[in-house]
């Protein structure tokens, strides 16, 4: 057992890399020198485009892939010890089940794999069926279930043994809005119960709502890490202003220093590049009997952040500075 020297850290990776050898091309790094620390009770969002290395990282954490180099520690126990995963619950992207089993049989099977005896399995089923509302479907074979119900069973499996750390790979993937709402509420309740949650997602609004910290992966490398405020550009990028009863000459004047976005009935919407100009113009409009309907400062969203990261990547690539992905032979 290796001690990390800090009991607050539930999950730690150090210089974690996964390389796929190739005979035809140069070896590919799916993940390169990834070092992260997830603290107790934290919700950590793992972000990145398709193929960035999120699932590869998650699979290494869960013992499915063998790291090429570097290490993973769960509660201070190194990944090579399978019992390091005693405090880990894993929900794969699109969880797969033994279709011929019922939810009750499935949960009991995973209880046995966690090392529980018959009585403990029964008690665990009672706890999870209560928590995830599975009692009504306990004896129906999983093959008959919808995507949302399957996700619930996936959560039940992840929560068997009440693990401290939950690793969720795209938990909202493929769900309808109601299903997403349920899962979001479940993650919030798990967070409130003190669980540490590490999850990857493409649904940026969910990440913004749920995560204390995020890490952004690009071509296998961690390019940004911190709170959402730290990762995103927090200065005001533009201001959207909606005014009513604005006179025609003022509309013409505003159009010179702002973008006229939309005009309908006696409303007009402008986008100002700076909040100072927006303030001045709104003051002038109010002095001329206009009414302020909306004044919305715009900051960078995670979506815009991704677009910015993509542009940076493409520029780096064009300049021949593709410093990652390919291992120099």
């Amino acid at each position: 057992m290796l001690s990390m020297g800090d009991e607050r850290i539930v999950l730690k990776t150090k210089d974690l890399s996964k390389r796929y050898p190739s005979l035809k091309r140069k070896d590919m790094f799916a993940v390169k020198d990834l070092s992260i620390e997830i603290n107790k009770g934290e919700v950590f969002g793992f972000l990145g485009r398709n193929g960035a290395g999120k699932t590869t990282t998650i699979k290494m954490i869960c013992g499915l892939l063998i790291p090429t180099s570097g290490g993973i520690w769960i509660n201070g126990i190194e990944w090579k010890n399978p019992y390091s995963r005693r405090s880990l619950g894993y929900l794969p992207e699109q969880p797969y089940f033994y279709e011929y089993l019922t939810p009750k049989e499935t949960v009991k099977f995973y209880c046995q794999l966690k090392g529980m005896n018959k009585r403990e399995c029964e008690r665990e089923w009672g706890r999870l069926s209560e928590m995830l509302d599975l009692k009504d479907i306990s004896d129906i074979r999983i093959r008959n279930f919808s995507k949302g119900m399957r996700q619930k069973i996936g959560f039940a499996i992840a929560l068997v043994g009440n693990p401290e750390l939950l690793v969720l790979d795209e938990p909202m993937s493929g769900l309808d809005p109601i299903g997403r709402k349920h899962i979001r509420e479940l993650i919030i309740s798990l967070k409130n119960s003190g669980k540490t949650i590490f999850f990857s997602s493409h649904v940026l609004s969910d990440v913004e709502q749920l995560c204390d910290r995020v890490g952004v992966l690009t071509r296998g490398r961690l390019v940004a890490e911190g709170s959402i405020k730290e990762v995103l550009h927090q200065e005001i990028r533009s201001v959207d202003v909606v005014l009513r009863y604005l006179e025609e000459w003022l509309i013409n004047e505003f159009s010179a220093s702002a973008q006229l976005v939309h005009r309908w009935e006696d409303y007009v919407c402008f986008k100002f590049d700076s909040s100072e100009i927006a303030n001045l113009m709104v003051k002038k409009a109010l002095e001329n009997s206009a009414k302020l309907v909306e004044f919305v400062p715009q900051k960078e969203s995670l979506e815009e952040f991704f677009v910015r990261m993509q542009i940076t990547e493409e520029e780096e690539s064009k300049r021949g500075k593709l410093y990652y992905s390919k291992l120099e032979e």
């Binding site: 013992g63 499915l64 892939l65 399978p82 894993y90 033994y98 011929y100 090392g115």
Partner: protein, 254 residues
């Protein structure tokens, strides 16, 4: 041990749903029942032929079940991704592999038991004598199938089911004819091929050791020590192949 048992029971429950199993079992029973037809053309030997074909049928169809179900064992878990939530559990990988193997052995035991009872009952209905040694022969065939299971499991961790099935089938065929590796034709003797073939003779399991069909059919006595020797031989070889399967799976990306 509880984890191995859980995986074994689940493997059994999964395999028992495989349609291939029932098709092969059906054909095995058809051959056992149909063996009477061949018995008719051999005057006075019909019971012997029914016994002979019944034991051959258990051996061949049992091996086919082992190969087709066994080579899919680990591969199917990876392909269907059910393995993700299993390997992520706090259990060493060897427990998963051994659990899969024992589950398959449980299945093959059921299949051999069904075929043995049906064939034994059929012989009795035809007026033949079904003694203790008939079931000893069936038991040794079961041990042979445990060995085929272990080979199928090993290849299931290494390759696709089709390639695995071909490899196990080759092992099965050569394993029944290891004698030819020693009894070489003159033009091969003293060539570089000879030591290779001799090495193969000692490495490959000798499947014909498990076959006491001729003795049982003709009422020739067999030493109990021979049965014990073959049992131990089969278990040790099976353990070796399961161990190799564990080694292969230990560092496999899934």
């Amino acid at each position: 041990m509880g984890r191995i048992f859980a995986v074994a029971v689940n493997t059994y429950r999964e395999s028992i749903r495989d349609k291939v199993l029932y098709v092969l079992l059906f054909f095995a029973i058809v051959v056992i029942i149909g063996s009477k037809a061949i018995g008719w053309i051999s005057i006075g030997q019909d019971i012997k032929i029914v016994k002979d074909l019944s034991l051959a049928s258990i051996s061949v169809f049992g091996a086919l079940i082992s190969i087709f179900v066994g080579t899919n064992l680990v591969y199917k878990e990876i392909d269907k991704r059910t393995i993700y939530t299993i390997i992520s559990q706090p259990m060493p990988r060897y427990q998963f592999v051994i659990g899969k193997y024992l589950g398959l052995c449980l299945l093959i035991t059921l299949m051999v038991t069904i075929m043995s009872l049906i064939s034994g009952g059929y012989i009795a209905i035809l007026g033949g004598e079904v003694n203790y040694w008939y079931f000893v022969a069936c038991f040794l065939l079961l041990i042979k199938l445990f060995l085929v299971n272990a080979l199928a499991l090993l290849f299931s961790t290494l390759s696709s089911p089709i390639l695995g099935a071909i490899m196990v089938f080759c092992f099965y065929i050569f394993g029944h004819a290891t004698g030819i590796f020693l009894d070489l034709p003159p033009h091969i003797k003293d060539t570089p091929v000879e030591p290779i073939l001799k090495a193969l003779y000692y490495i490959l399991p000798n499947f014909s050791n498990f076959d006491i069909r001729a003795e049982v059919v003709n009422g020739v006595s067999i030493s109990m020590w021979y049965v014990v020797y073959v049992f131990v031989y089969g278990i040790l070889y099976s353990a070796l192949f399961v161990y190799l399967g564990v080694l292969m799976f230990e560092n496999k990306d899934v």
